[in-house]
Amino acid sequence: MNPILVLGGGPAGLSAASELAALGAPTLLVERESYLGGNPVRWHYSLLAPDLRPAEEVIGALLERVEGDARIERRLSTTLTKAELGSHGYRVTLATADASETRDVAAVVLATGFDHFDSRRKFEYGYGRFPDVVDFKELEGMLHDNKLVRPSDGQRPHRIAWVLCVGSRDLQVGNPWCCRLGCVVSIKQAVEVRQKHPEVDAYIYYMDIRTYGLWEDLYWKSMQEYGIKFIRGRIGAVTLAEGGSRLLATGEDTILSRPTEVPFDMIVLASGMEASAGTKQVAELFGVPVGPEGFLTPRLTDLNPVDSGLPGVFLAGAATGPKAIPDAVTEGMGAALRAYQYARD
């Protein structure tokens, strides 16, 4: 059997690759970055919601399974530049910085994932202009390294605000969808901050809290056990206060129906999820339909979310929409199974 190509080495791709190997299929795992693990590794995610297990532990287990398996051929810093449908799968061209080669593969799993929204596009929050306005993926790195300090002066912040739905649910930037994770990750971050530094005040500005399913527990605990304060309404603008030493968040408390101004030492933006550049690229190469949001569209979103509807092309993870790691891992397994069935028949 020709190998089955898994495109993308994030949680979904790792899961698909290890599952394919377990089924006994030769597997070719291609990743455009120089490392495996995807966004969690790229941004040094700290603890993962909702169990607050270190990301390294979770992703590490996936990595171990893939790296320790001789049936999985791993190709890093490699991109796909061409794909042609043959009688038994695809003929694909793989390129590195200095070479390219052609390979025949029996089936393809697209696990090309998402990119975080570039928060500079919401210019009113001052990201990229004020150093103490950080993106929540950057805070992940700080928490991971146990270095919670203000980027401007290296001091410990006294009061932090989280702003949910940055670049999500927002027609101003053309992204009306929900990121699904901003709420739970922000609450998790606030809990993590309060666990490590109980003296830091944590405020979360929200429109709706979407800690769906069993994750709701973390939301309740965050209030009951960690004293995190929730303000219903958004920060609409960030400026400087106190001679430039602090940030001033202007917003509306929509429960009290009054505009508010609160000084903060740090403001964390829960940036949304967009289809990654790689996802857009493979959509074009294989001709996978793309929805208005820019994500790949499975043929049947309800009955079979991992089939693209094209022969031998299967989908997994955040390439088809915002997704949490457990869901990406599950889809990786589903796509692996379907790709294996296709290659075998």
Binding site: D170, G236, A237, G251, E252, T254, P259, P292
Partner: protein
Amino acid sequence: MSIVAHLPRRVLSLTEEEAANPPAMELTGRRKATGPEHELAETIFAEFRQDPRHHEFVLGCLNCGECTTGCPAARFYDFSPREMLQIAATGDATTLWDAMQEKIWACCQCYTCNMRCRFGNDIAGIISVMRELSVVHGLESTRKTLAPFGRSLTLLMTVGTQVSSDMIQPDFFRDWGPFATGSDKVWDVSSDVMRKAIPSDVLQTTRSSWEVSVQTSLELFRIYEETGVLDMLRGLDPDLTEMLIDIIEERREEFQDARGRFAKEIAAMRGPVASFTG
């Protein structure tokens, strides 16, 4: 296809039938308009909800409050664009009626709320529709609210106001802060856009724009007459309306006279030239 095209439209607006049977929404414990006031409130509610602009302007609301954040009026009054949007979508006629007594006049029509709205609502627009209805129906409260503005209105309607390209200077917009007025590139870009937004054929500068041409103001007034603005104003303040008409009539006559004189002068100038060449 653009993503906006996928969004449902007209979700909060009513069809003619629906408006004829307004939702039986009861804000418990709230005042309810009664008697003739109730009738007028219901009429205004039905007209408001069937206005085609309601379909266009009120799309839905996440109650995010970002519109209120940037609203200058919200900082000084018990007023917020978010609340106005909610009122525009309410099924309770008395709530709309109450907001139309005073609140709608707090807005200064700066359109900041529209720039902020993540749902794409035209909040400033729907507020102006409410204002229009309050004027059209000659509400007593509107009469009182607008009474002190008779002088400004007279000037505005008989003379007008002009914007010239060279008004778009950082110095005139200090309240926008150093970000907008400093050396920051953003200012250059946005001021450039604004300058381009002013039709170039106006070709006015701050020096000349104070002198308003009689012809332009007459044309403007013609627009007020033809589009029903004048009739609208008549319902609210008949005396002021008559006065405006008097002023403009006088100006029209002057203009015609001047035209006649001008034509004669030209003819007089042409005369000798014609005989000379002939």
